[in-house]
């Protein structure tokens, strides 16, 4: 009897967990995928490489373009907030973006930059608090 109660409680908790994770998650997309699937108002994790020559300081923030890892489609992003140390053209980044009108706006402080070498024992970029 006790076991049944315990198991039911566990199942209930697990279901709550699972349900909220799907609704709270933001999908990770490459630029080409984002162009195809993005809906305004939803946030996405844009993953790709910073296009060389596309980085511009705009007052408080930064404008740059993100391209697919293998080259190809590039999406311009308007970002504001702290820029991690390793950020630079040619590096891989993840930035949470939202489609607003025709533009993609980066969520404040959501920029993560990958460290250039293929394996590091240490976090090589900065993560921002939400």
């Amino acid at each position: 009897m006790r076991l049944v109660v315990a198991l039911s409680a566990a199942v209930l908790l697990a279901s709550a967990l699972i349900y909220t994770s799907f609704s709270a998650a933001s999908p990770a997309l490459s630029p080409s995928q984002l162009l195809r699937q993005a809906q305004p108002g939803r946030s996405y994790q844009l993953t790709g490489k910073v296009v060389a020559g596309s980085v511009r300081h705009e007052g408080d923030g930064l404008d740059f373009s993100v391209a697919d890892r293998v080259g190809g489609t590039a999406i311009p992003v308007s970002y504001s907030g702290t820029v991690p140390d390793p950020f630079r053209e040619g590096r891989e980044v993840i930035v949470t973006v939202e489609k607003q009108g025709g533009r993609f706006v980066g969520e404040r402080n959501s920029l993560i930059t990958k460290c250039p070498s293929k394996y590091k024992t240490a976090p090589a970029g900065e993560k921002q608090n939400y």
């Binding site: 998650a25 933001s26 990770a28 140390d85 993840i94 070498s117 394996y119 590091k120 240490a122 090589a124």
Partner: protein, 718 residues
């Protein structure tokens, strides 16, 4: 010399294969000399891998750039300490470190049990050598530390500046010791299941290793958090990053095991649960190792593009399948001898603690691997962020702390309800007093933090009551003065009172976490010289800029070409609190394409934060100086055009002077976090308490209760 390294790896693999064969053969045929030989194979492995590690370490110290690893991660200008530690900053070097630590810890463990548990130890030997063989094979076939280039390059790339922090270099050995130590209980669990001897003796032996794993893993995790907080330009200590979570999960199951272990010891219950926990801990440790290297999850540490993914998936698959098989096929031996006597008992509280810890682990597991799960189920890879994690871990952490305050008040086996109710009075008063004080002080907008503070108050009062009563009880018997009575009490009941200290430490740690995350003040602002801003109750003023040029041959630990920063004055009201000097270091990129001057500062930029740490709050500052102004850029461009590589450093001097004369406004990031110091203090208390709990009591203190007289009454007591 690289040849010697390669020979070592091959020899190691052969020794592993021999050892596995000898161990299994020895157990199956009862020929003890083979089991012994297998154990010695582990010792031999330790010798071989020590040699291999020494070869690599010497190569780094001697700047032998023929070794690819050395050329990739070190350079002539890297300071000696970082050169020595750079060994494990690469994939192949860290694999060697893992295997080496595994061989050392395994040798120690097998040495300690060499006269007992022969059959179990033999299977354990086979499992541990299996792990070693896996990692050595990875090194031989996928990522060898002993690859060389001929002719050797003249200079190496150098260590990534982000890694040039002392804490960061100690973190991997600590963490890997934790991970490798987790495989030892797993190996012994496999042995116990295979020989069908999951009993009291096994528990006694395995406790030490489980504790060592828990200790090292915990220290490794805390060091990582401290490094992230005090040296990275982010200002946080925990971000629910995949790799952080990967190290936390085995620690949680390990903690659960240390508790449920005691239930099996006392009541012969929870055998299935315990072996499952041990097997899970070891598997989670291997998964943690795998996460960092496989690129299977997007995280700070590893981005897309699998490198070592497939072999690890195979290993983990074997571990999971093997564990399930062993547990199911041995379930007759794993039947409980007794049941819980009463719900109102410390045993049942331990069970509740286990449930909460495993629930925590499950939540973190789900969130961490969610990108893979969602991809498998929906086709899109999606990830959850810290708010999702916080939503579930915060309530669970509250329950955990609360349980640790209830535990001391309840007796083992079956508590008397009336006594328990009475004993709750003091802890409840403690919690209430905390609540009243905090509400009166105006701390009401953060209910969860408030709840945590009250739970901590509950724990402190509960443990204090225990110490007081225990001392009183001891004095009633031995009549010692209070300080001596307290000492004697703890010495004779290390597990109990050490455990209480650990729980106090955990409560302190969570108080620090709750305070620093809920009552933080953070400001990001562009400030010009002379300007100031308010952060919480502090005023921070930008006094003047700083510029530091480091010579090419630099013995200091940063090695940046140019470091631009600021002197900040921190004050509260009229009182001067601290002077902080954050800076940003610009490093040499080594790319001539950026120009003779450009490359000197075109490399990785690293933020050097400046912090005033205190018992009540930390004031954390970081700066991002603006070097994109036209004046500064002009210097770089002209320098690129007119100066050769040798003359280029002159331009750096000009840059520095220009920056000091006409400093542009810089981006500042300020954070004031209360009670952060208590996180680290809490951690120290936890580990101190753990050491007390595990320390063997001196034999003179071990009383033996004489049971000789067979009548239930009149039993003499020692």
């Amino acid at each position: 010399m690289a040849d010697l390294g390669r020979i070592c790896l091959l020899l190691a693999l052969v020794v592993c294969a021999y050892g596995i064969f000898a161990a299994v053969y020895g157990v199956r045929t009862g020929r003890v000399e083979f089991s012994e030989s297998a154990r010695r194979a582990v010792y031999a492995l330790a010798i071989i891998l020590t040699t291999a590690f020494a070869v690599l370490e010497i190569a780094f110290l001697r700047n032998d750039f023929a070794f690819n690893t050395v050329a990739d991660t070190s350079s002539r200008t890297t300071p000696t300490f970082y050169r020595a530690a750079a060994v494990w900053s690469s994939q192949e070097g860290s694999l060697l470190l893992w295997a080496w630590l595994l061989s050392l810890w395994s040798s120690l463990a097998l040495f300690l049990v060499r006269r007992r548990m022969r059959d179990i130890a033999a299977y354990a030997t086979a499992v541990l050598l299996g792990f070693a063989a896996f990692f050595i094979s990875l090194m031989i076939f996928y990522a060898t530390p002993f690859a060389t280039t001929s002719p050797a390059p003249a200079e190496g790339v150098g260590l990534d500046p982000l890694l040039r922090f002392p804490t960061m270099m100690i973190h991997p050995p600590m963490l890997y010791s934790g991970y490798t130590l987790c495989t030892i209980p797993l190996a012994f669990a496999v042995g116990a299941l295979a020989t069908r001897r999951v009993d009291a003796d096994w528990i006694k032996a395995i406790r030490r290793f489980a504790f060592a794993a828990w200790l090292f893993l915990g220290v490794g995790i805390l060091l990582g958090a401290r490094w992230s907080y005090s040296e990275l330009g982010w200002g946080g200590y925990w971000g629910w990053d995949a790799v952080e979570n990967a190290s936390l999960m085995p620690w949680l199951t390990g903690t659960a095991f240390l508790h449920s272990l005691m239930i099996q010891e006392k009541r012969g219950m929870l055998k299935v649960w315990n072996v499952s926990l041990v097997l899970a801990t070891g598997t989670l440790a291997v998964m943690g190792t795998f996460l960092v290297r496989s690129g299977i999850l997007n995280s700070i540490h590893a981005f897309g593009g699998a490198t070592l993914g497939v072999p690890f998936v195979v290993l983990i698959g074997i571990l999971i399948a093997g564990s399930i098989y062993l547990v199911v096929s041995r379930r007759d031996v794993l039947r409980s001898e007794h049941r819980l006597d009463s719900l109102l008992s410390r045993e049942s509280l331990f069970l509740a603690n286990n449930v909460v810890l495993v629930a925590l682990c499950f939540v973190i597991f789900w969130g961490t691997y969610f990108p893979l799960i969602s991809e498998a189920l929906t086709g899109t890879e999606a990830s959850v962020g810290p708010p999702w994690f916080d939503r579930y871990t915060v309530p669970l952490a509250l329950i955990l702390v609360l349980l640790s305050g209830i535990g001391p008040v309840i007796a083992w086996r079956r508590a008397t309800l009336a006594n328990a109710r009475r004993n709750f009075l003091a802890p409840l008063l403690g919690a209430l007093a905390t609540l009243v004080v905090l509400v009166a002080a105006g701390v009401t907008e953060r209910p969860f933090a408030l709840a945590m503070f009250c739970c901590a108050g509950f724990v402190f009062a509960s443990v204090a009551q225990e110490f007081v009563r225990g001392t009183r009880a001891r004095r009633a018997i031995a009549g010692e003065p209070p300080p001596l009575a307290l000492l004697a009490l703890v010495r004779r009941n290390r597990r109990r009172y050490g455990g209480y200290v650990v729980h106090v430490g955990i409560a302190v740690l969570f108080v620090g976490v709750a305070a620093s995350s809920s009552f933080q003040h953070a400001v990001e602002q562009r400030i010009a010289v002379g300007g100031s801003t308010r952060v919480g109750s502090y005023t921070i003023r930008y006094v003047r800029p700083t510029a530091t040029i480091t010579p090419k041959e630099d013995r200091a630990h940063t090695g940046s070409t140019l470091a631009l920063g600021a002197v900040l004055d921190v004050s509260k009201g009229k009182r001067h609190v601290a002077t902080l000097r954050p800076s940003e270091g610009f490093y040499d990129s080594g790319e001539p394409a950026q120009g003779s001057v450009g490359h000197l500062i075109g490399g990785q930029a690293v933020s050097h934060i400046s912090m005033s740490a205190g018992l009540t709050r930390d004031v954390w500052t970081a700066i991002a100086p603006d070097i994109s102004t036209p004046a500064l850029q002009r210097i770089v461009t002209i320098g690129n055009r007119t100066l050769s590589a040798e003359e280029a450093p002159i331009a750096i001097g000009v840059l520095a002077r220009e920056y000091l004369k006409h400093p542009p406004a810089a981006e500042f990031h300020f954070i004031v976090s209360p009670l952060v110091m208590w996180i680290w203090i809490g951690g120290l208390i936890v580990f101190g308490g753990g050491l007390i709990a595990i320390w063997p009591a001196p034999s003179t203190v071990r009383r033996r209760v004489a049971l000789r007289s067979r009548s239930a009454h009149g039993l003499a007591r020692a």
